[in-house]
């Protein structure tokens, strides 16, 4: 009998804990829009991407809720609904993120999820999102494969994929007459680094078939020690060294390479090199060609919307916004426009997921980084204009970006229906520059 009582105790304790947690599930409120925001809050990707992005997102959401953003984003919240954000840490790998995503959708009953920096997460989440019919906005990750290998109903990406970064850099090198007779690369050993190098090296080969590939280095991610790689790259005497390193890896690489005369001996290009500028400040080397994954930060276009955003962020945090906050705000703006468009169609009532997804498809909206058009992946994947520049010291001795060349979205992004890699291999057919 005792054993039976014991199992009853076990059962009831399990039940009790169930019920306790049941109580935490909130009821679906009216006039409120629950938004799960997933980005890196711990680990090596937090400092460069997650935290500045969420800083920007937090600030923008606050301003939206107060109705203080400029037109066309001046409506309070999302179409009058107050935005309640639930931030979640993105670290821990794609599998853990699938679970966190399910928790957000099923437990917290969020209306939408905005997030994901890591390409691995962006590859894993969409199939679950469609399965759970959860509206999902990918705001940052780079891999083109998300909408090239599959199509999803409820998933959108409001920023251009990474192919543009490397195509534009290749074009820039040629237009500016740089010596590209030999190239070398140092990129992290995972999808992002490998894709970036492939896009860049193939683009260069297409534009200048005689250039020779010297070293292709793929150090492991977060290794932080690049002494050997720097020696190997210097020994190769390549004219151009390409890198898509980011965050702490990029900072460490710069700190270790600079005293060895690396940036004076070879032309270095960083495909996503702007986001460490606020941190490194004047330790950033001169003469580096860099992209910001869009017209962001020091390469942002001269528009009223950008001037407002740049100043707002600068006033709040004391540093200029680099790509991460721009991209998160771009995602929020896209979502806001889609919701408000759907709301209008729905007679001013809160639209459902299907209505928002319909409105999101093919949406065009003006963001601080320029016009964003949801043109690829049948209206689910954005393209946007791009800019490439070169670092130099201004007259006060501060590092800044000069020699900026801007590229139309249709010049550096493939047309709908063509995979980025095929488009590069075919020599950019139909590019409208």
């Amino acid at each position: 009998m005792r054993i039976f009582r014991q199992s009853l105790i076990l059962l009831s304790s399990v039940l009790a804990s169930f019920l306790t947690f049941l109580g935490t599930a909130n009821a679906d409120g009216h006039g409120e829009f629950k938004l799960g925001v997933v980005t890196f809050l711990s680990g090596p990707a937090a400092e460069p991407f997650g935290v500045p992005a969420w800083n920007g997102g937090k600030l923008f959401i606050k301003l939206l809720n107060e109705g203080k953003a400029p037109a066309p984003y001046n409506k309070k919240g999302f179409g009058g609904m107050k935005i309640t954000a639930i931030p979640i840490d993105e670290s821990g790998g794609a599998t853990k993120q699938v679970q966190e995503f399910r928790n957000l959708v099923q437990r917290d009953k969020v209306d939408a999820v905005l997030g994901y920096v890591s390409s691995g997460d962006c590859m894993a989440i969409p199939s679950v999102a469609d399965e759970l019919k959860a509206l999902t906005v990918l705001y940052d990750c780079g891999t083109p494969r998300v909408f090239e290998d599959a199509s999803y109903k409820y998933v959108f990406r409001t920023a251009a994929h990474a192919a543009m970064d490397n195509i534009a850099i290749a074009k820039y090198l040629i237009e500016k007459g740089h010596d590209i007779s030999s190239i070398a690369g140092i990129n992290q050993n995972y999808a992002w680094g490998k894709d970036s190098w492939k896009d860049f090296s193939v683009s260069i080969k297409k534009l200048s078939p005689n250039s020779e590939i010297k070293n292709e280095l793929f150090p492991k991610i977060f290794s932080g020690q690049y002494g050997t790689e720097i020696s190997a790259l210097l020994n190769s005497k390549a004219k151009v060294v390409h890198s898509s390193l980011w965050g702490g890896d990029l900072q460490s690489f710069i700190l270790q390479a600079k005293p060895r005369g690396f940036f004076k001996r070879t032309q270095v290009v960083f495909s996503a090199g702007d986001h460490v500028m606020p941190g490194l400040g004047n330790k950033y080397p001169e003469g580096v060609i860099l992209g910001a994954r869009g017209q962001y930060g020091m390469m942002a276009p001269d528009t009223a919307l950008n001037a407002w955003w740049y100043k707002t962020y600068m006033d709040e945090y004391g540093v200029f916004p680099a790509q991460p906050p721009y991209r998160m705000v771009q995602g929020l703006m896209g979502l806001k426009m889609a919701i408000e468009k759907a709301m209008e169609k729905n007679g001013g009532k809160k639209p459902n997921k299907d209505q928002i997804a319909d409105a999101f498809k093919g949406l065009e909206f003006e963001a601080p980084g320029g016009l964003v058009q949801m043109k690829l992946g049948n209206g689910h994947q954005a393209i946007q204009p791009h800019a490439i520049g070169k670092t130099a010291k201004d007259k006060n001795g501060n590092i800044t970006v000069t020699d900026i060349v801007r590229y139309k979205a249709s010049c550096v992004n493939p047309p709908n229906g063509i995979k980025a890699v095929d488009w590069i291999n075919a020599g950019f057919p139909g590019a409208d520059c």
Binding site: S42, A46, F222, S231, A232, L234, N235, S252, V276, G279
Partner: protein
């Protein structure tokens, strides 16, 4: 050709020295306390952070630049002084005599806590202390420049290794530690205060971890997440060299350092894999590493 080989050796030696300094404390603590201290990586990060905090203060005092090395030592000491009582006395001591794996788990928990403690104390922004790296200038070697500071790391590694070896083998307190390593029970019966030895050994291990962080700080941007790689790499060194063995750590660091340098120069595709390859080979042919530290079990 000769140039390239020399470059490989030099690059390998620099990297191996760094690995050795990082792994030395880990293998020492393991040798004495039989604890694989996963929080080693966390202490390394604390060392880096405390140097990144104290060095700017030092520079603002306007003292001769060379003394920054002292600041780095002091910051490592400070970390060890703060962390040892908390970790060893406060937490780990409760678990001595219990399953060793339980203690590994506890150090893992401490590692998790330290990750967020860094965030709470220093925030999310990167810190930079590249100034000490300019201290020794640059040397031309072949057609390449090497930074004097990087080369000095080789000296630091040799110094740390030799000092620890000397203290262990040539001083009385060192011999007591060796006795405890060999057999804690009997040493205890002979009147050795084992708890004191453990505390001292843990302190040395924590100091070495923090020191490696302090001297790595000028090379990197100090930020959240720098401890992850350290845990794995120092573990690999220790596995290859033999758990708890100092000469083993030398060999382990040299094998990984040289193999990696050779790969980066001659076979870049294999670079990411080489460390695991060395480890796998060692596991299959000599599962307890090149230098077996202590007896697995006295049967």
């Amino acid at each position: 050709m000769i140039d390239e080989i020399l470059t490989i050796i030099l690059d390998g030696a620099i990297y191996a020295s760094w690995l050795f300094i990082v792994a030395l404390g880990l293998t020492f603590v393991f040798g004495v306390l039989k604890i694989l201290n996963i929080a080693h990586g966390g202490i390394y990060a604390l060392g880096a952070y405390s140097t990144a905090t104290l060095a700017p203060i030092f520079y603002s005092l306007g003292m001769p630049e060379q003394f920054v090395v002292l600041t780095m030592l002091i910051s490592a000491l400070a970390v060890a002084i703060v962390i040892t009582p908390i970790m060893e006395r406060g937490i780990l001591r409760r678990f001595y005599g219990q399953d060793e794996v339980l203690i590994v788990l506890v150090t893992y928990a401490i590692y998790l806590v330290l990750e967020d403690v860094q965030k709470l104390i220093w925030g999310m922004n990167s810190l930079y202390v590249s100034e000490p790296r300019e201290l020794l200038g640059a040397l031309e070697f072949g057609s390449l420049y090497y930074v004097g500071y990087d080369l000095a790391l080789i000296g630091l590694a040799i110094f740390c290794g030799l000092t620890l070896w000397f203290v262990l083998n040539k001083t009385q307190s060192g011999k007591i530690v060796l006795a405890v390593i060999n057999n804690p029970e009997i040493s205890g019966c002979m009147g050795v205060n084992i708890n004191k030895v453990y505390l001292a050994a843990f302190f040395v291990g924590a100091f070495l971890a923090a020191l490696s962080g302090s001297f790595t700080a000028p090379l990197i941007s100090v930020q959240v997440g720098i401890s992850v790689a350290v845990v794995i790499e120092s573990f690999a060194v220790v596995i290859i060299g033999g758990l708890g063995s100092i000469p083993g750590a030398v060999i382990g660091a040299l094998i990984i350092g040289m193999a990696r340098a050779a790969c980066v120069h001659k076979l870049p595709e294999a670079e990411i894999f080489i460390m695991y390859f060395c480890m796998a080979g060692m596991l299959i042919f000599k599962p307890k590493g090149l230098f077996e530290g202590v007896q697995a079990r006295k049967i």
